[in-house]
Symmetry: C2
């Protein structure tokens, strides 16, 4: 990894050290087997997977009434390690976690917006992930070798069904709140649609009920970059070299979509790292930033997982699945309080798309809180605008459950 | 090439057959040597090139007073073949030209907005191009082998200087109008700045005085896709396989930036080519479109040229070059009538950037016509909104030259 002079930005500020009163401290992931070879897990698009092991983390204590559960659903490159410091980072070789706490450490912890001294917080790696839950890197029991592309297509719906199975296994019937951003926000929505009676509150950050044509296009090009990498070998690359070049290009491109034009202008402009011209190497600050993002990503992510997860993102369409194409009809299923938060400069899941979703909830006569947060951080804002997001979460978590008055 | 069911769109409508009264007919490119090995052409960033051969096309007749010259400057993937049908397409192996007339055939021809029965129209391939003018594909006289990356860095300024040398060779002192879109628009601006007394009118379509940080970012990722292709071989690939995968990925990504989100939504939405899921192959219409664009581009473009041209695009900064960073100061040099045309949904060279340029001209007390054309076609609009663009050109060409009272 290049120790780039231009630190990767925007990023959440710091996070608490493990011994701080605001940190959940050192964390240990747990793993639960939720399907077996004999009793595999049936998938939305057909086929099944078994065995399935799910890696998850929890923070805080489950209340005696089991009514204080906050389920967090993670995004494309996220994982179950939401807060605190991974005690097993060295053992599992996830060395990047030595440098940073969990991805939402500013939001989740004792006394924070998602207060772990009050709530039992849970996050599970989704199916197809490369962070412990069964995925294309896992051994296919039929061959004894990694699945690669023989892993079946998974969907946002599958992730939610498997999370429900995890809750069942933990003896949790209802969740106080399900909350996620981006692809995590689509899972939060899917929870409210698939299990209306198990979700009291759903918080959808920087996500809409389906990806735009432009979003589909970016995902398609990212996958092409991976699949055209000669090291890809039809996904059967685990024993040899990884398609890191393709994965880095996909990630660099994706990062452009996570920032806004104005945010990039402000942060990098046309500034150069060095004045002399370098031909086609890294010269502008923005090139250095993207180069760093590409390099660091390939150290921590699996190219096949990237394919499966972006395809799940492509396929998700709440209106098609639950309302025969009509989003209002789909929303009629919902029994949760819903908060939708968009960010003004997000052009991946735009404010217009989020507003359309909020309006569909209104038209379905469902309670909805919609906030468009002014921000220059683009799609990344849901991980950066922590003060505003924390404030919104803190207050929304106090909303009485539907039908309580 | 896949005969994609989803025709590549948006595209200009048709163009005239060679025997139509609106067509310039069959065209033959000419080539002129403008620098020799003994007298090489000095470059803005240092170094020199020689010999240089420039391929260009002309339409119409030069008036006895040599006062009817319209110089067209082409964009990234464009060429000197602006209008009509290439008589030499088979001979030169440019077979794609058998299917389409020149890239601005709807605008340039007898009786059209740029009326070749009235004007002498000229367009030259720029230095570094892969369409006949000397570039990285050409033989380096020092080695007898293609330049590859030993070709020096070229700039928008170099292109304009070389075009001036071409005009000198043709005995043309002043141009009635210089006009171009996108990277061609930046050349039109550079003409007005570098040769204020040789340009009566400059028309800048879908271009601004410099690329944004986001634009730099997209170019950087496109180049990375090419340079990380294992067939790239540091640019020395001509005798062997080409880095077509990387070039295709770069082009696919670039095409996303040429369309607008709304245009993509309207044209493709989330429609599928086939209902059954295809894993990671082409499934959505928008994937088919991008796939087609990638495939067809590698048949007609050179990866090294892509690197050089995008870098020239990165480097161009009119304010830095001509105004010590102050765009108004730079604009004070201009002696031409200037028209700036932006397109409402263009997010590569945004209306805001174009407006800023127009305002700088105003502040420099220079005559300027600024139009923001409402369009859903994004950056591509300058090649698609032919009726509006034609109308604007037709009228602006009649503007009296500066100082004519």
């Amino acid at each position: 990894m290049s120790d780039s002079a231009s630190a990767p930005v925007p990023r959440r500020p710091g996070g608490d050290p493990p011994d701080s009163p605001g940190s959940v401290g050192m964390t240990c992931a747990r793993t639960l087997q939720l399907a077996t070879g004999q009793n595999p897990f049936a998938l939305e698009m057909g086929g099944s997977v078994g065995p399935i092991h799910v890696e998850y983390e929890t923070y805080g204590e489950l209340s005696p009434g089991r009514d204080n559960v906050i389920l967090i659903t993670h995004a494309l490159s996220g994982d179950a390690h939401v807060a605190g410091w991974d005690a097993d980072a060295k053992k599992t070789g996830r060395l990047w976690r030595l440098k940073h706490p969990g991805w939402w450490d500013d939001i989740v912890g004792p006394g924070k917006a998602i207060d772990t001294s009050r709530y039992f917080v849970l996050c599970a790696n989704f199916l197809g992930s490369c962070y412990g839950t069964t995925g294309p890197m896992s051994d296919n029991p039929a061959t004894g070798r990694p699945y690669g592309l023989s892993f079946p297509v998974v969907t946002v719906g599958d992730w939610v069904q498997l999370q429900a199975r995890l809750l069942d296994a933990l003896g949790i019937d209802r969740v106080h709140t399900v909350v996620g951003g981006s692809l995590g926000g689509q899972q939060a929505l899917e929870w409210a649609l698939a299990f209306p009676h198990r979700v009291e509150r759903a918080i959808v950050l920087a996500a809409s009920p389906r990806l735009s044509a432009q979003g589909l296009a970016f995902n398609a090009v990212g996958r092409q970059a991976i699949m055209k990498d000669p090291h890809f070998h039809d996904g059967d690359y685990y024993a040899i070299a990884q398609p890191n070049h393709g994965l880095a290009v996909a990630r660099m491109m994706a990062h452009i979509t996570y920032l806004s034009e104005e945010g990039m202008h402000e942060k990098f402009g046309r500034r150069r790292r060095r004045q002399q011209r370098s031909g086609f190497g890294v010269e502008f600050e923005v090139e250095s930033y993207l180069d760093h993002q590409g390099r660091s990503f390939v150290e921590r992510f699996d190219a096949n997982s990237y394919l499966y997860i972006t395809r799940a993102m492509d396929y998700y369409d709440a209106a098609a699945k639950w309302g025969q194409g009509d989003l209002v009809q789909a929303c009629r299923r919902i029994r949760s309080q819903v908060m939708v938060v968009s960010f003004s400069s997000d052009w991946l899941y735009t404010p217009a798309q989020c507003r359309e979703f909020a309006l569909a909830l209104c038209r379905a006569h469902k309670p909805v809180t919609y906030v468009n947060v002014p921000s220059r951080f683009g799609h990344d804002a849901f991980l950066v605008e922590n003060q505003t997001v924390g404030h919104l979460l803190h207050h929304f978590l106090k909303t009485p459950p539907p039908g309580s008055s």
